[in-house]
Symmetry: C2
Subunit: 348 residues, 2 copies
C-alpha cells in the first residue's frame, strides 16, 4: 500500500530528494531559487520550477499557498523512504554511544525499558515508545504466598518470561504462614510451566484453599495475556512539542493527548513488524486521526517464539527518516540481544 504507481525520472527524483532533505532541515517551504543556490545545481531555477510543477501534478509535493516554496506531501515522503534515502546505517560512534548507555542497564525490566525509551528519544530527537516484552501464552513459573493478616495474603507470582505479578487475596478461614508455604510448595510442583487454561483444568477440591488460589492465579495469567502493549514507556514528548509545526498551543495539546501514555498503546498497531524489519507509517497513512500529521517508525524486538516487544519513534512527518530508521533498527537489535542475554535459552 501507499507505494506510488508513478515512476519518477532520475532528475525529478533527485530534485525531490533535495526538496525533502532541505525541508526536513529547515521546516521552511523550499523555493526553486534557493534550491539551485544551496546545492550549486547546473540548472536554472526556471527548469527546477518546471520540474517542480510536474512533481506537484504527480502528487509528491504541494503548495501551502500560491507563492511559497514547495512542501513534501505524504506521498512524497513515502517515495523518499521507499526509494531515495537508501538503506541507512548508523555511524559506528553513534552505535557505541548507545551501547555505552545500555551498559548501565540493571536487570530490572521496567527500568530497562525506561532507559531504552530515553536513549531512543534522545538519539532521534523525537518521542519514543517502548513496550514491555511479552509472549502470546503466559505460563506460571512459580508462586509465593505471604501472610498479611488472619484472612488475607499476598500472592506473588513469577511467570516464565520472568515477570512478577502481585495480588492481595482473602481466605474464608484464618490461615498461617506455615500453611500458606505448604500450599505454595504443593501448587508449584503441580502447576509450574502451565498456562491459564491448563491450570483451570487441574483438579482441586471445591471450596478448598487451593481453589481460591487457582482462581486468582488463572485470573492474573489471563489478564497478562490480554494486557497487550498497555505498559508502554514513552519518553521525549518534549522533543516533539518543540518542533515548529506544533508551535501553536492548541496543536501541541492535541498531540499531547494523542501521545498520552494511556491512549498511545491503542494507537500503535498491536502487531509489530518481525524483528529486524522496520515499518514506516507516514502522516495520513495512520489510521488514528490525531496522528495524521505525524509519522511513526516501528520495529519489533525479541525472538521468534520468545517474548517480543515493540519500539517506535514518533515525530512530525517532517522527520529525519534515514537517521530514525537506522536508529530504530539498531536499537531493535540491541534490545533483542539484551533479551536473549536476560532470558537465555529458556526454551531448551
Amino acid at each position: 500500500m501507499g507505494v506510488p504507481a508513478v515512476e519518477l525520472s532520475e532528475r525529478r527524483a533527485a530534485i525531490l530528494r533535495l526538496i525533502i532533505s532541505d525541508y526536513i532541515q529547515t521546516a521552511q517551504p523550499v523555493g526553486s531559487e534557493g534550491l539551485v543556490q544551496r546545492h550549486r545545481l547546473e540548472l536554472s531555477s526556471a527548469t527546477i520550477r518546471n520540474e517542480m510543477a510536474r512533481l506537484e501534478d504527480e502528487g509528491f509535493i504541494t503548495h501551502p499557498h500560491t507563492s511559497a516554496g514547495r512542501v513534501p506531501s505524504d506521498q512524497g515522503y513515502r517515495y523518499y523512504v521507499e526509494f531515495l534515502m537508501g538503506d541507512p546505517e548508523l555511524p559506528t560512534d553513534e552505535k557505541l554511544r548507545i551501547l555505552h548507555q545500555f551498559h548501565q542497564a540493571t536487570s530490572h525490566v521496567a527500568q530497562w525499558l525506561q532507559l531504552a525509551a530515553a536513549v531512543l528519544s534522545q538519539s532521534v530527537h523525537n518521542a519514543a515508545l517502548v513496550t514491555a516484552p511479552r509472549v502470546a501464552q503466559v505460563r506460571l513459573r512459580q508462586l509465593q504466598l505471604v501472610a498479611l493478616h488472619e484472612h488475607t495474603a499476598l500472592l506473588v507470582l513469577v511467570t516464565e518470561e520472568v515477570k512478577v505479578r502481585q495480588q492481595v487475596m482473602t481466605f474464608a478461614d484464618p490461615v498461617t504462614q506455615d500453611e500458606l508455604t505448604r500450599i505454595a510448595n504443593r501448587l508449584n510442583a503441580q502447576w509450574s510451566g502451565l498456562d491459564a487454561p491448563a491450570i483451570r483444568a487441574r483438579p482441586v477440591d471445591p471450596g478448598s484453599r487451593d481453589e481460591a488460589v487457582r482462581i486468582v492465579v488463572a485470573g492474573i495469567l489471563e489478564e497478562d495475556e490480554a494486557a497487550g502493549f498497555s505498559d508502554a514507556h514513552v519518553e521525549g514528548l518534549r522533543n516533539v512539542l518543540e518542533q515548529p509545526e506544533f508551535s501553536r498551543s492548541t496543536k501541541a495539546l492535541e498531540v499531547l493527548e494523542a501521545l498520552d501514555e494511556h491512549n498511545l498503546a491503542a494507537t500503535i498497531p498491536a502487531e509489530g513488524p518481525p524483528s529486524g524489519g522496520v515499518t514506516v507509517i507516514i502522516g495520513g497513512e495512520n489510521p488514528n486521526a490525531p496522528l495524521r500529521e505525524m509519522s511513526v517508525i516501528l520495529s519489533g524486538y525479541g525472538s521468534e517464539g520468545g517474548p517480543r516487544g515493540l519500539l517506535a519513534v514518533l515525530g512530525p512527518t517532517r522527520m529525519q527518516y534515514p537517521r530514525a530508521v537506522a536508529t530504530v533498527r539498531y536499537m531493535g537489535s540491541v534490545m533483542s540481544a539484551l533479551l536473549r542475554r536476560l532470558y537465555g535459552d529458556e526454551d531448551r
Copy 2:
C-alpha cells in the same frame, strides 16, 4: 512566612475577595465598573477605585498595565487563602463521587496511586501528583528465589509494607531450584522482619550462597529506603496546559519540563505536612524557578509511624483554592483509610 503584616479593613478585604474570586473564574483583569455591576454593590465604581488603589499600595493586587483591571499578587492570594476563603468543606455529593471511584480500586498499589492521581486531577481540573506510601525503615517480610538458568536466579522479595521487589542475581556455581527453595526457606526463617543493617549483621559463611543473597537483599532494602518520592504518579498535565495563562507554547513547554515526572519528585519538598494538614505554596513562594507562576497544594497521607505518602495539586496561581484545598484534604483522609485497610494493624 508569607503571612502579610498588614491587617485589612473589613471593606477592603471584601473587595479583595471579590477581585480574587472573579479573577479565578474569568482569568481576566477585573475592573472597578464590572465589579460593581456583577455583584450589585452599594458603592460606586469610583469608591471601589479608591480602595483598589490602596490595596495596590499595600501589595495585594497589581496592574498589568495602566489601563487594565486589577490582578491579584502572590501576597493577595496568600491573604485570601489564609483569611478570606474560610475552611472549605467538600460537598457531600462530591465526596460520594470520589468514594465511588475508589470503589473499583484493586489491591495493586501502583494502580491505586494512578487512580488516586487521576481522580484528584479530574476533580480539581489541574495536575495532580501522588507519591507511593513508604516507611523510613524498610524491613524484609519474605523472599523467594526462582531459578532462571544454571547460574542465575530471580530474587523476589516482599517488604513489610507489602512492596514487591525483584532482581536477577548470578551465582558462581550452578544451582537447582530445589536448592534455591531450601535457601529461601532457611533465610526467611532467619531474616523475616529485619531491616538492612540487621541483615548485614547476621552471620553467614563467607563465599556461601547465603552471602551472595544477603548482599542483594540488603542492597534492595537500602535502595528502597533511599528511594524517596521518586515513584510519583502524575496525572492531568493537560488540565494545566489548557489554562489560558499557558497558551503560549513556550510557556507550556517550560511548565511541562518542570512537571516532568522525573524532575517533579525533586521539585516537591521531601517532607510533606503531617496527615490531615494541608499546605499551600503560592507562586513565588516556591523555591523552584520554573514553578514561580504556579501554586502547589500539598497534603500528606498515611499514619504516624506507618507508611506515608504525599498528594499534591499543581496549577496556575489563579486556582480554585477553596475547592482544591477541600479536595486535597478529603483525598488525604480517603487515602489514609485505604492504607489502613490494606496494611492493617501491622504494628500490633
